[in-house]
Subunit: 137 residues, 3 copies
């Protein structure tokens, strides 16, 4: 069995931002040498998340709008007494810290319209880490 773990870094420039990391993840799958198995993509942050969907400019705005609609900023949250980012924690908790996709034929198994996005929920930040683990044979 092969296990290949790699850490990547990104910076964000806005409050809420979707950063397409698909090419980088596919490069890690390729360098892993895994032919069949799985790929785990994870963010070690409590105010960021991952989503998988189409990289279309309008849809990216729709996703940001929907996140802000479900998790609006500054609605009297308890956590805002300590830090001004409860909305970002809540969105991160609901969207989740990781995604898992199969690997087959040496490639990440994803649909034509499935891109992988690191979701910044409390930016801008100089360093957002992405951990990619590929397992298989």
């Amino acid at each position: 069995m092969r296990v290949h773990v790699r850490e990547l870094e990104y910076s964000s420039s806005r409050d809420v931002e979707l950063i397409d990391v698909t090419e980088d993840v596919e490069r890690v799958v390729e360098e892993s040498g895994v032919s069949a198995g799985i790929c785990v993509i994870s963010v070690p942050h409590a105010t960021a998340a991952l989503v998988v969907n189409e990289n279309e400019k309008g849809l990216i705005e729709d996703m940001k709008d929907k996140i802000s609609e479900i998790f609006p900023k500054g609605r009297g949250y308890e956590h805002d007494r300590i830090d001004d980012n409860a909305h970002a924690h809540l969105a991160s908790a609901f969207l989740g810290p990781s995604k898992v996709l199969p690997v087959h034929g040496g490639k990440l198994v994803r649909g034509a319209w499935q891109n992988i996005f690191l979701v910044e929920l409390d930016g801008p930040r100089n360093v957002r880490r992405l951990v990619v683990a590929v397992l298989g044979e």
Copy 2:
């Protein structure tokens, strides 16, 4: 280690529909010969998703209603200028493209009320693919 990847196909007959794929996934786990490990169930589509919950007729209606309530159709989404299905993309992005369950004693570890559903969000469609990857020993 064993890695077993299998692709299944389904068709949907409605706009929003939950298709119970539990038996098919369990069959793939069985044929994998994996005794202990994990099972990744994934849809390579940006307008479909997976959920795990009880297969009870009323609850299935409740899940469809809740999806339509949180992600209503045609609310002036940017993506609707290109394609009329932004609501389906948003629901897919939030519900997620894959689920992961442990395998133990040669069986999928799931609760008595945990069935696996492929969620059609933009049907009807002739072909919806499900990729099942089983890893372990």
Copy 3:
């Protein structure tokens, strides 16, 4: 390859409750002897879930409030004709039954503010099971 599957048990004392299981999960990762790989944490229940986020008293209240806001109890759900807990099933379906995190250097890869919570959505319950599967080498 190593595969280590372990089942843990918890009891809940409230209707909705977040139980921090991070230390227990890290103990299972340690006893697995896995140096690099992944850890799957799963609840075999349809009215419980898992979330990953900060263990801060105020934020925990915010998370419970947000769950109750999105999935309010007793809103004429179909499933409530059979059992009085449709809201708990819906929250479980949306939050999901499992989380997956990488393992590297013999440790669970998580951020400083990423704790793992078993989310009770229909308590109190005497027994809530948590299944932890660690795979790698």
